[in-house]
Assembly symmetry: none
DNA sequence: GATGAATGAGTCTTCATTCAT
DNA sequence: CATGAATGAAGACTCATTCAT
């Protein structure tokens, strides 16, 4: 649906999008009816179908906008940074902040990812995000900053960690997004293992050899 | 609903569970009707409600069983291993294998996590999994095997990485679960950064100093 | 449910109410389906739920309106009468007429009184009617027109007699409501016993003393 | 359904009747399912249909038994009383007691009276009760004990008053059945009007003539 | 006598969408 | 642009009854 809209029309449209985003997030897409939306808005059913072809189209629009906006906010934060590792770190931070600010959209994207009908949109969006991340990973490898890992795996892993930690620690537990971003970044970059030399010392102190080579 | 069931009854019940699991995963919970299930099974509508109080109860049952089974399979693999880092690695492997074998349930759990109505079950299940993982992380810290990190964060991060990588690389791209598990474990344990000394060399080779201290 | 209705809408709503009243009375509330109502009306199922939240709400609405209307018609007839005994008599007459004109509602109210779900509405309505009646009874006692009886009991008794006699003699046997009302009023006011002095004579005539003290 | 039953069988049957009576009264006939009854009894569905042809037949049986039992208890109390007015009084008392003891059946009979399907049974039962009552009324008229009223009207009125007062004052407010019966009897026999001579005095005291002849 | 299993028509209700005004 | 009205397929769930074992 492409319609030339007056100012008032654009406002209405935006109103619908915002309300729908909230209700879809709270009550679930399937369980939120068009009737509920228009009733809450105090308008007739026709209004909805004037601006959107269908409920599904509205949802797709929400998803599209969300992914676009998330990406924009990442690029903004990263813009002038040269160091690829720093870009990764800032990318994580941008995501954390955006998700902290857009809880509803976070939820909607998660949900959409589980539904065959929307998975394609989501997958495409994720591919873009993965592509962005991979670029930084590759750069970092090229510059010898990070180990020679598979950038595709790493990119997915980074996104997963960031998203999940925000979901739990920002949304559920109310931690600061920047702090959570730092935790995520640290985890991603340094892993959790102690450096081998430290481990030796620790083992020596503990007086046994168990810790010597747990992972090869 | 607790009902005395004959052998035949237990079979029927299982049939329903299996078919529903498949259909819920493929078509989505909300979009799969009870009518569809019983029709596919070639039985009357009453049969469904003989075995389950409601569609939702059936779904909860599926989720419950899934989480229980996943945990069981992890404990089985870890049983006799003493080294906590090894236990982490094997836990990741067990998850990867189970998810590889239970694509439908993977999907269902993901979906359930996004729905207010089921989020509680899921959150509880996740808390158990996080608890298990945290225990190994703490053990490893105590033994000086891994850095002094926040076990709660780490546990969530580990689960997120594993789950996501399996979703993409096993389910979507068809990689071997064990291989994906190894990638995940390596990522989790070692992060992606080169050790500081290597980085120095690399920087020296590259003839500049940019890589010296990317993270503070 | 409060909805802005057009003229056409109000008509539809009324149509539904009238048809439902009839069908509920004839076939019983539980046995009359929404489907039957809309089919008879030749409209889609949605129409019903456009005007009413549920079948039960519709029924409650019918009951509410009925009780309100009955009361209105009583007050109208009594309006300018000063003598409380006359007011009782006219109240009985008004009820008899209204019930004669609203057989379906008579039945529905009777039915509703036997159903836990509706008993509360009915009880409240009955309390109002009892309250109205009690007022006249008290007035009459104050003016020395009737004996010093318990107005609450009397009010209930009056309503019971009136309602029952209308049910049997107007609805079933087709008598005139005004005549039935007079019978009821006479019964209520004068009872059935002969005055004591007449009884003495009668006993004398009959030549025995059995009738002397009928109530001990 | 007539089946020769063992002792155990008769017990079972009685069990079902009693439970059904209670549930029908509490939850309503239509809303109480056969499934609920057999589940509560902890038996299979077959049991129900072994003893009764259908749910409706069971209900009819309950009604039949109830009306028979009520009548029996009236006849018992009246048996040796010669005075017809006393017989009326005692009949009222017997009804009040029986209804006090059989709240559930009271309700069921009321309900059945409102349902086309059962109204016939009920009407027949009521006719019997009316017949019994009329006989006493006629006797009393013949003996000059009560005024020359229409026995049919009077009989209906007596039953209505008694039933209603028990419903409100015994069941709802917990009064003693015998006391309520006395109120009903007094109302029925004496009405509520003061005797004409007393009224004259009262009017005289009040110093006006309003009370002189309210009913012509 | 009794059980668990099964039937399937029927119940109330929801909802995306269309349309006359 | 917007409204109230209408559609009707579809949904979850119920329930009296039957029947093989």
């Amino acid at each position: 649906m492409t319609r030339r809209l007056t100012d008032r029309g654009r406002e209405r449209r935006q109103q619908i999008i915002e309300l729908a985003t909230r209700r879809f997030a709270e009550g679930g897409y399937d369980r939120t009816s068009v009737a509920e939306i228009v009733t809450t808005l105090g308008v007739g059913k026709g209004v909805f179908y004037w601006y959107f072809d269908s409920k599904e189209e509205l949802f797709q629009e929400i998803l599209r906008e969300a992914m676009k906006d998330l990406r924009r906010s990442q690029q903004l934060l990263i813009a002038d940074v040269d160091d690829p590792v720093e870009r990764l770190r800032l990318g994580i931070r941008a995501s954390a902040r955006w998700w902290a600010d857009h809880r509803d959209l976070y939820r909607l994207l998660e949900f959409a990812g589980t539904q065959q009908d929307f998975a394609r949109s989501i997958r495409k969006g994720r591919e873009v995000a993965v592509g962005d991340t991979m670029k930084h990973v590759r750069d970092a490898i090229d510059r010898g900053l990070i180990r020679d890992v598979d950038p595709l795996y790493i990119a997915h892993a980074i996104l997963a960690v960031t998203s999940q930690l925000v979901g739990v620690f920002v949304h559920q537990k109310g931690n600061e997004p920047d702090r959570v971003a730092d935790m995520a970044a640290s985890f991603v970059l340094e892993g959790i293992l102690r450096p081998a030399d430290e481990r030796l010392e620790a083992a020596a102190e503990a007086g046994d050899g168990r810790a010597l080579n747990p992972a090869s």
